[in-house]
């Protein structure tokens, strides 16, 4: 096991910037996830760590040792590829055993030991029935698990997993996630995990780095990332439905600060939030514009007026889930999602009915607008 440090790493493909000035540390035995949309540079970072891609500038350290110039064979990592990359001419068994047989690791396993190791990981991931088959006779999900088994069969310094469960069906995804968690704690492995699915990242990681267009947008524990998104991008990427982002205007009346959006939505902003609101605001045409962010579970919903600061909006749509409902309101420029837990009321809201809403201002954030929040 080893700790990994990326120091101001930049990677260019010609004029195109894939990764820009990324500094990231993964402690020994830590499970670090890199989350971001397609094309954010997640896989490029993994390839840089694996030694498949070189850095344009910056440094990569394994256990304090600079490894920029080390080829993949000498880095002692293992990797599961999103595209599987199984060796087509080898049976599943040989695919999984392939890393164990590399002379470089000097494992010198006897055939029995090798069989035991392969069987162990195959049973762990539920592919022990497939060992005699060729990759071309496997489904996508099976190939993905074989690829994962090949990455987990050895004990390298660092595991690099690139979307290792993205192509599994929902049920298998969940159980494999549990297995990965078990694996990580059992072997105290250093794992760097790339995904575009925030649920996997929240469920598995000790720490998460959110990547956007090659740069790190926020880094922190899953709780930090979810509860206190640093930017509107993080808020909109993590969570389903995404964080509510409302573009509006800062208005000051009688020394009190208000946030208003559209014609019938104005709230008084709590004093301790005013500073951050002004900081995030920008001036345009003599007005102060800003963006308010709040997660759907921090908006209270009721038929009765909740407080002096609550406001009324007509119900636009309701989506029922097993243990809650998401009620959607039309705010003119964007939708406002409200999650309502189990209680009686939310189930029987009618469309267009006016409901009272109230923001829990200890979970309100103000951001500079960096993502497009047009209705989708």
């Amino acid at each position: 096991m080893a700790g990994v440090i990326l120091e101001k790493v930049t990677k260019l493909y010609g004029p195109k910037i894939a990764v820009q000035d990324v500094s990231l540390a993964c402690k020994e035995g830590e499970f670090l996830s890199i989350v971001g949309p397609t094309g954010a540079g997640k896989s490029t970072i993994l390839k840089i760590l694996a030694g498949i891609e070189s850095v344009t500038s910056g440094n990569v350290y394994f256990d304090g040792r600079r490894v920029n110039d080390l080829p993949p064979q000498q880095r002692n990592v293992s990797m599961a590829f999103e595209t599987y990359n199984l060796y087509p001419h080898m049976r599943v068994y040989d695919n999984v055993a392939f890393p164990l047989r590399a002379p470089r690791w000097n494992l010198k396993l006897t055939p029995e030991e090798e069989r035991r190791r392969v069987a162990e990981i195959a049973r762990f991931l539920g592919i022990d029935e497939l060992l005699e088959r060729l990759p071309q006779h496997l489904s996508g999900g099976q190939k993905q698990r074989v690829s994962l088994a090949r990455a987990l069969v050895r004990r390298p310094a660092v595991y690099l997993l690139d979307e290792p469960i993205a192509h599994l069906d929902a049920r298998l995804k969940f159980s494999t996630q549990t297995l990965l968690k078990e694996f990580a704690s059992k072997y105290r492995s250093t794992i760097i995990y790339v995904t575009h699915d925030y649920r996997e990242a929240l469920g598995l990681s000790d720490r998460i780095a959110v990547l956007r267009r090659g740069s790190i947008e926020q880094e922190g524990t899953p709780e930090e990332i979810y509860n206190t998104p640093a930017t509107d991008f993080v808020g909109s990427l993590i969570g389903e439905p995404p964080m509510n982002l409302i573009d509006g205007e800062v208005v000051t009346r009688n020394g009190q600060a208000f946030f208003s959006a559209g014609d019938n939505f104005t709230i008084q902003v709590r004093d301790d939030l005013v500073a951050s609101m002004r900081q995030a605001a920008r001036h345009a045409e003599g007005r102060m514009l800003t963006r308010l962010g709040i997660r759907c579970e921090h908006v209270a919903l009721s038929r009765a007026k909740l407080s002096d600061n609550s406001f009324q909006l007509p119900v636009y749509a309701i989506a029922h889930e097993a243990d809650s409902s998401v009620v959607t309101f039309d705010l003119g420029g964007c939708f406002l999602y409200v999650r309502s837990r189990g209680e009686t009321e939310s189930r029987d809201y009618r469309l267009s009915e006016k409901a009272w809403l109230d923001f829990d201002q200890s979970h309100v954030f103000f951001y500079q607008a960096t993502v497009d929040v047009a209705k989708v």
């Binding site: 694996a50 030694g51 498949i52 080829p71 993949p72 064979q73 880095r75 990592v77 293992s78 990797m79 590829f81 595209t83 990359n85 060796y87 087509p88 001419h89 392939f98 890393p99 590399a102 002379p103 470089r104 690791w105 071309q136 090949r150």
Partner: protein
């Protein structure tokens, strides 16, 4: 019904075109001279078979010696061609060696008619004393086949994804081991196809063999052509000689047909 009939008619025509000449060669090879030159139609197929032509071929001409020359030249040139082409094609495919220009130059040696190079080669070979030698003919065949084999193998190597090799590097293998354990098994069908093509091409080559050999290194094709004399055409020995000479290529093509079809469509049906 009509469609079926048309299908079979077309099949028969194609078969007749392909098999007709072969059939003629093997029928003629076993005919006495009288049966060859008769105008009687039924004698085309019904005749008393004889081994006279083969006997004359073996006793009056250095047939086995010339066939041996063909074999030596084909096999040795093909071995050298593969030794050069395999690493060259891998390097072109994986590292784009020479930025595409080198590959183009390699292939361009096949873009002019063979006769263009014949005169300069002849003069050079005469100066070097390589005329009518095995080495000379082998060098010529290496020259012509290397470009062809490199180009063909280049395509097969391109079909092996670079990510597969990267996976093997991460798994801890060195370049040579990766080539041996991952790349080589995957291009094996392509390698077989290329080898067979080179062998067959050298085996069948006539023009350069005719120009550059006289006695010592004369190939079987040149011998067969000599039956077409100025006074008479000796169809019997010619057919017998050709009948034996084409056997190896027929067998090779038949044995490799599974690979050849797979090799030629390798890129098209990757899955």
């Amino acid at each position: 019904m009509m469609k079926r009939a048309l299908f079979w008619a077309a099949t028969l025509i194609v078969l007749a075109i392909v098999i007709g000449p072969l059939l003629w060669i093997y029928l003629t090879a076993f005919k006495a001279s009288g049966d060859i030159f008769t105008t009687e139609l039924k004698k085309l197929i019904v005749f008393a078979p004889t081994l006279d032509n083969f006997q004359r071929l073996m006793t009056d001409y250095p047939y086995w010696f010339n066939l041996g020359n063909t074999a030596i030249v084909s096999v040795v040139s093909t071995i050298f061609v593969m030794l050069v082409s395999l690493p060259a094609a891998y390097s072109f495919a994986r590292w784009n060696t020479g930025g595409g220009h080198l590959l183009f130059v390699t292939i361009s040696t096949r873009m002019f008619p063979g006769v263009v190079a014949a005169l300069p080669f002849f003069i050079i070979f005469r100066t070097l004393g390589l005329l009518d030698t095995h080495v000379g003919l082998i060098l010529l065949y290496i020259y012509f086949n290397t470009s062809f084999a490199t180009f063909l193998l280049y395509g097969f190597f391109r079909d092996v994804p670079a990510e597969l090799e990267q996976a093997a590097m991460i798994d801890g293998y060195g370049r040579m081991e990766i080539f041996r354990k991952v790349v080589f098994p995957l291009i094996l069908p392509g390698l077989a196809v290329t080898t067979v093509f080179c062998l067959i091409w050298s085996w069948n080559e006539f023009f350069y063999a005719f120009l550059f050999t006289r006695l010592t290194a004369r190939t079987v094709n040149v011998l067969i052509s000599s039956f077409w004399g100025s006074i008479e055409v000796q169809y019997g020995p010619m057919a017998a000689g050709a009948g034996i000479a084409i056997l190896p290529t027929l067998v090779a093509a038949w044995l490799m047909q599974r690979y050849i079809i797979r090799g030629l469509t390798f890129g098209a049906v990757k899955g």
